[in-house]
């Protein structure tokens, strides 16, 4: 594996992790924009724009784009999150230039009114689809409660009303502001020809214009005086779905990896404290804890799905389990979790498509490169005491926000 970096005069960063053993090359544009960069009148615009990018440019129709990707045998897609919009394609190495040519053209979409009207229907369908599925909006609602007036409170999809009200001109303006050359990172991984990539990028992206720098970070106050709970009632649901958020280290914190290791000890899909206590015994369909980090905040997310009548007892039990962890973790459980994470890092490192996301997001957020050996070394150094320190500092049992979605009624939330 060899890391390469170059910056074009217009500020576009190009990073690559080159692996001669790989059979494919993965390329992606990582745009530093997402739900957190929106305001009420354009809620959902980042994600809608991600769809519109596939609808064509001044010289390409939507059909042209789909045809070209399929002709090159590309596995291409995109996603939008709170902080990022990512467009990517995995191709055979000989298609590297073709893929970059198409992806870079797409970064300058036409945003035609008639496409906008048609695609709006697709977005509204996507909102309805998620609304029919577990956790029935509990994740969005919980994030809104937890982050309050912080930009991370915003929904990625937006709402039916915000999407219906959105006009194409507002999206054009948003695109103009957010897709400037220095707000994008071009990342590549696998069997990449870096010299050729740079040459193509100069030719295809060299004319893009930079924008004035902006600060995306907003201080998030983690001390919250009250425990907030909300309920979304879905009478037809078989199970109750719970999302619970409490503060944790942000992505630039030294404890970021330790927080992830702690989450594996507490709430991994198997072999964790939540697993043995709640899932293995068949008390719940699912109980897990994860750590998510953002530019300026971090969060421990606990998810539970169970029979409605057991919800409150199990939520109390989860708090007891977190309290028990504060009384001390064993060396064995920490080592077991560490071994799992080490193995995941090694296996993910073999897949160019998986490495692309680590590479691109790390550079887009922190402007740095972390290799697989870097991640392994960091994990190896984390001690049991580090995890105890995080437990003491972030105090997981003190819940910030909890949302229940399922058959339970709202007056049951306080029991």
């Amino acid at each position: 594996m060899q890391f390469r970096h170059e910056q074009l005069p217009n500020g576009l960063d190009i990073v690559a992790e080159v692996s001669e053993a790989a059979h494919s090359a993965s390329l992606g544009f990582f745009v530093k924009t997402g739900a957190r960069d929106e305001y009420d009148a354009i809620s959902g615009a980042s994600h809608f724009l991600e769809h519109m990018v596939f609808k064509g440019t001044d010289t390409l129709s939507a059909e042209d784009i789909n045809l070209r990707f399929d002709f090159m045998g590309a596995s291409a897609n995109a996603f939008t999150s709170e902080e990022d919009t990512v467009y990517y394609a995995a191709v055979l190495p000989e298609k590297q230039h073709d893929a970059l040519e198409l992806l870079s053209a797409m970064m300058r979409p036409a945003l035609r009114e008639d496409d906008f009207v048609t695609e709006k229907q697709v977005i509204l369908e996507e909102i309805k689809m998620y609304d029919d599925q577990p956790p029935f909006g509990a994740d969005d609602r919980c994030r809104a409660l937890f982050f309050r007036d912080h930009p991370l409170a915003r929904s990625v999809l937006g709402s039916t009303s915000s999407i219906e009200a959105l006009e194409v001109e507002a999206m054009r303006e948003y695109h103009q502001q957010r897709y400037s050359s220095d707000n994008l990172v071009l990342a590549a991984s696998g069997a990449v020809n870096f010299e050729s990539l740079i040459k193509s990028a100069h030719q295809l992206c060299g004319e893009w214009k930079p924008s004035p720098p902006s600060n995306r970070k907003v201080h998030f106050c983690t001390t919250q005086s009250e425990i907030v709970t909300d309920v979304i009632t879905r009478e037809q649901a078989a199970l109750e779905y719970v999302v619970r958020m409490s503060p944790g280290p942000a992505e630039d914190a030294n404890d970021r990896f330790a927080a992830k290791l702690l989450a594996v000890v507490l709430g991994d899909d198997s072999g964790s404290r939540l697993y043995w206590d709640i899932v293995d015994s068949g008390k719940a369909e699912h109980a897990a804890c994860n750590h998510h980090d953002f530019l300026d905040a971090g969060v421990f997310v606990t998810q539970l799905s169970c029979e409605p009548e057991n919800t409150h007892a199990l939520l109390n039990r989860i708090v007891e389990i977190y309290q028990g962890a504060e009384n001390g973790l064993s060396n064995n459980e920490v080592d077991q979790a560490r071994n799992k994470l080490l193995s995941r890092v090694v296996l993910a490192g073999e897949r160019p498509r998986q490495r692309l996301f680590s590479l691109g997001l790390e550079w887009a957020h922190l402007g740095r490169y972390r290799s697989v050996p870097d991640d392994l070394a960091t994990l190896d150094k984390i001690s049991r005491e580090d995890l105890h320190r995080i437990l003491a500092e972030w105090h997981l049992p003190a819940s910030s926000s909890t949302v229940l979605a399922g058959p339970l009624l709202s007056d049951s939330s306080s029991s």
Binding site: N66, D70, A74, V122, Q236, A238, S281, R344, L347
Partner: protein, 422 residues
């Protein structure tokens, strides 16, 4: 690309498949026992009892302690060896798989031998195991797409192929510890078991160790399954949701039939990739839905094409009409460009599979199950190159679509035209 494929057969019928993949540190191994959900009905043949979910429950209980290790010790041993393990049940197989750094392979093979040959099937673990299966079934109740596809399989396939692999709550609630013990004794057998391994691998050492762990295991599978009836051709599942879910199925040749190549290529033109006809006509041009696709599902002796879309109730009829129109319009209209795209996508997929040890181990096992051999990448690519528009059109002309099974899940049923021809 030079490829190193290996096969071996033990005296007791266990098949070993291996591929050395250069440039990786990991290895993936998977064990496929002929104890899939099709065996649910066999285990109570003649008793009149339905045991849908028995194979799933057996898989769950087998992981709860084996050999010298109890449930917790077993998971700890796999986790500490950095094995990313999984267990699953399909119609034909119960499967146990693990991906790991290659030096851990010898120790983890011993653990898998314990799971397959010496599961504790601890009485005290039975109730929690059954609870876990019941909880998972309750969870699938809330997934409208999953429910739609279950209803489609039930309507389209003859019994027992149409029954859900994961079981039904009513049947699982009635299963006993003795049922599971009998199932494991009867169906977890070396005969027809496939062990597939891919990655950084010392093949002779692997074969030697597997022989040591499995060669003294003897046993035969019971008689095969008899085919039952199919369900209704049109089925509406009432469900209070914003979207109506539409699922369609029709018969196509199974993977081992040489014609399956033509059938799957036609299906890819219809619903694979973002330039496919369904994606273009239903989503891109009309904005009728977020998801629409068509795919291929094969068992050894029967297979189905399945198409799906989910859309708002008031646009569901138009979505169904467009889907049926595109299916009917396919014969006689496939272009060279469409076939080129299908080939390009398939080739990329085959090459990229070489980058994942787990994907390779799984793919080899599937190919052996269907064909009784594994094809090299070069062979697979050559078959793709041999495909022509004429060969696909010829197959479509000789095999006109006779009947489509149609399932809707949502508030209201939709109208299905009598004939499927345009």
């Amino acid at each position: 690309m030079k490829q190193t494929l290996q096969t071996a057969t033990l005296d007791n019928g266990i098949i070993l498949l291996g591929e050395f993949l250069p440039g990786v540190e990991s290895v993936s191994v998977s064990f496929h026992v002929a104890a899939g959900s099709l065996c649910d009905s066999l285990s109570t043949r003649g008793s009149g009892r339905s045991c849908c979910g028995l194979a799933t429950l057996a898989g769950e209980l087998m992981l709860r302690g084996a050999g010298e290790r109890d449930s917790k010790q077993l998971v700890a041993a796999l986790d500490n060896a950095g094995v990313q393990w999984s267990q699953s049940v399909s119609m034909s197989h119960g499967s146990f798989a693990g991906a790991m750094v290659s030096r851990q392979l010898p120790d983890s093979l011993k653990i898998y031998a314990d799971i397959l040959r010496r599961p504790l099937l601890d009485q005290t673990q039975f109730d929690p195991a059954r609870q876990v299966v019941l909880q998972n079934l309750a969870g699938t109740e809330d997934d409208p797409t999953h429910r739609t596809m279950l209803a489609l399989r039930k309507a389209h396939y003859p019994s027992p192929w149409g029954l859900p692999c994961e079981g039904t709550s009513a049947d699982v609630a009635e299963l006993s510890h003795t049922d599971v013990k009998n199932f494991v004794t009867t169906f977890i057998q070396p005969q027809d078991m496939i062990i597939s391994v891919a990655g950084r691998l010392d093949w002779p050492e692997f074969v030697k160790q597997i022989e040591g762990l499995f060669s003294n295991w003897q046993g035969q599978l019971p008689n095969p399954i008899s085919v039952g009836d199919r369900g209704d051709k049109i089925c509406h599942v009432p469900y209070d949701s914003q979207q109506t879910h539409i699922a369609l199925a029709w018969d196509v040749p199974p993977y081992r039939d040489p014609d399956s190549l033509q059938a799957t290529a036609a299906l890819a033109v219809l619903g694979g990739g973002s330039s496919s006809r369904l994606f273009t006509e239903v989503r891109e041009k009309r904005g009728l839905c977020y998801s629409v696709s068509a795919g291929y599902q094969t068992q050894r002796d029967l297979a189905a094409a399945m198409a799906y879309s989910g859309t708002t109730a008031d646009r569901a009829q138009e979505t169904l009409d467009v889907m049926l129109h595109e299916i009917a319009a396919l014969p006689g209209t496939i272009t060279e460009d469409e076939l080129d795209r299908v080939k390009a996508r398939a080739k990329s997929g085959l090459v990229m599979q070489q980058e994942s040890t787990a994907a390779r181990a799984g793919a080899m096992a599937r190919q052996w199950f269907h064909l009784g051999r594994i094809r090299t990448l070069a062979e697979d690519l050559e078959r793709l190159d041999g495909l022509s528009v004429e060969s696909i059109e010829d197959w479509l002309a000789k095999n006109p679509l006779k009947e489509i099974t149609t399932v809707f899940l949502g508030r209201d049923p939709l109208e299905v035209p009598d004939a499927v021809s345009p």
